[in-house]
Amino acid sequence: MRIRFTLNGRRVEVDAPPHITLLELLRNYLRTTGVKRGCETGECGACTILMDGKPVNSCLILAPMAEGAEIVTVEGLAEDGRLHPIQEAFIEENALQCGYCTPGFLITAKALLDRVPEPSVELIKDALTGNICRCGAYRMIISAVLRASEKMRTTSASQG
């Protein structure tokens, strides 16, 4: 089945069987392997992507459901070889150990900061409940989101 959508700003067209998930389509057909396969039941958040600006579990979506959508994966965060402020903040705050959950956390954090530029710790925790970090870096992840929020506001202020 032919499936067409926008992936990280580029239009893609791909032939794939309709029963596979969007996670499998992204990893195995389009090689965006930054999207991680975890529990495959929507529990862990490692496969989180943005679909039309909203964070969703790509493991719970059939590939044809992406038709016409704007999909953003972790590969779409950096611009012109420069890391996104959220990625920089995760590095600066050591907000990871093994790093497997990180792409999902980055995507959910981006969705949050796009909506709420200056979130409270409570709101950050609420937004990130669908992402699990088994290394237990939660405290640093929350610090990283706060730092990213500051970075992004400073950048947009200096540009404005």
Partner: protein, 286 residues
Amino acid sequence: MSMLEYRRFSSLEDALRFLSERPDAKIVAGGTDLVVQMRMGKLKPSTVADIRGIMELRGIRESDEGLEIGALTTIEEIRESSLVERLAPPLWEAAQEFATWQIRNMGTIGGNLCNASPAADTAPPLMVLGARVRTARLGGGRTIPIEEFFRGPGETILEKGELLTHVHIPRPGDSEGHAFQRLGRRVAHILSIVSAAAAVGVEDGRIGWVRVALGSVAPTPVRARTVERELTGKTPSRDLIKSASEKVLNDIKPISDVRASAEYRRAMSVVLVRRVLEKALRRAGA
């Protein structure tokens, strides 16, 4: 599964015609339940009908009678809706603690109801709000009270080729109070061990009418009619609420499973019913 036929619909008429010809087709709305069931091998559909493009099944509208919610409305849209907060408070409360952001962005109210899990958290609030669901099928459709919708775990009254299209919630009156509360092993993203909702109308200092409903304690979401009978017409007091809440044991048939034992569910049902009644009465100004 490799032979799966995938069909997309943007017109309700086309979808209904297709479903009447292919009654075994599985409907995909948000996909959050369907995809897991397919992966676990519980469901092996030969045909999937994607109804996500049918715009008339989306959105939240205020109508003369109250609120109309399209079956494809996501749980996140309900969570963010000030209309739902004002006109269907316990449904709004249930959406606050529903699954995760990722799942709420895909999962729909129609899917939550049609999947017919005994733990569907939107069901007890809709029951106490006196909601009705509207269905469509080729050449007709029907409107039925939500409590007649469920038949058993995973089973509804929907017939082959019939689609849930809208949920209607009557406008709450003055001196009416509502509450919803759920208990899970953690706050976020866990199926409820017990959930309970209450709605009460206070008239001249007495309980004019009351509805109580629970989830996860019977094969379907259930009304606690024994509790309701015990309260109706009486002057609310701490002792009355306490003794009436204990009557909930007549209305539920919980089982033991991985989440909790039947005994724990019975004990917690009494506690949750008491709490939602107290909160609903307080909000009704009693």
